[in-house]
Symmetry: C2
Subunit: 192 residues, 2 copies
């Protein structure tokens, strides 16, 4: 049976894996722009790392041949309330657990570096119709203490901060970062 | 007269402006790698922003058509001693002054953003056989108070921190950042 107007609806049978996570990314990009416009935070998505092979300088320096490189850092970084922030956006399509294969080994090494040098580092995970801010510390702790290759959903749901979608902002992740800052100050006060 | 083996040597008559600043950049990239390897700082050069027009997904996702985009942030950013750092490398080939046309308007806006949000921001300028760390604060002050379109060399020489080249490191700019940090702590103590 056809749709009204005799329109045949065709469904894509192939999934474009490169574009996975674009929706989540778009919602985070919107938030970054909002925070910048409202002078709340200065956070940008880094350009996609690309290896350039051939440039046509005679034609407005058009790139004729290039390839995507594997990123060794996370996608977003910047500055909020005087602190260094870095994070990545990950869409998780399985409902039971978040596969660690989503994160490259050198990205995990980078997350450790950021935390050791006093930066704020986390993932924004879209999973089971929720958005979570999942701390780098919790990620590293899981990797160091578990043999499993994926983080069960109940751990993400328990340890992650739930983020809300706001029509005017996108994913209002800075609310989760505020929670993280409160926790940091609490930890510092306990130490002193 | 030809060279031995009857080789005709041809000299390039055109200057490739896109590659200007590559030498300085290489020396800074070396330092970033050194600081990372020695666990001193986590600072990376951002990928060049590129607009992708055409990708051949059938051929290993090779990029067939793309163009260089104007950067709206600075080239390098990262984390040192718990603080956010961002800077750009600029080779200056005139000896009398540093033309402000080297920095795009939105980059200047970005520098103001970084400083207002408590980040460390500066330029590394190669000029008159010296390397200078020139603070974002001094740059903004000059732009706000002067009508001149270029910063005279004597101002850069007076206000900038001279950086040294080190054979094992490259341009050892973190020494200049340390000076900047000392100054910051001094200012904070004066305020309290």
């Amino acid at each position: 049976m056809n749709y009204p107007g005799n329109v045949k609806k065709t469904y894509k049978s192939t999934v474009n894996y490169r574009n996975r996570g674009m929706d989540l990314e778009a919602l985070i990009n919107d938030a970054c722009k909002y925070y910048l416009d409202m002078d709340i935070a200065v956070i940008y998505k880094k350009p996609t790392p690309i290896g350039i092979v051939e440039v046509d300088y005679k034609n407005n320096a058009q790139i004729k041949k290039a390839y995507f490189k594997e990123p060794s850092t996370l996608d977003y970084n910047g500055l909020y309330k005087g602190k260094y922030i870095e994070f990545d956006a990950k869409e998780c399509h399985t409902k039971t657990s978040f596969p660690l294969s989503n994160i490259h080994d050198h990205q995990i090494k980078h997350i450790r570096n950021i935390l050791r040098h006093g930066g704020i580092c986390f993932l924004i995970i879209s999973m089971c119709d929720n958005y979570y801010l999942f701390k780098g510390e919790d990620l590293v702790e899981f990797i160091d203490n578990e043999t499993r290759k994926s983080i069960p959903f109940n751990i993400i749901d328990k340890k992650g901060y739930k983020l809300k979608y706001n029509y005017n902002i996108g994913i209002d992740y800075i609310v989760g970062v505020n929670e993280l800052y409160k926790e940091l100050i609490l930890n510092e006060n306990t130490k002193n």
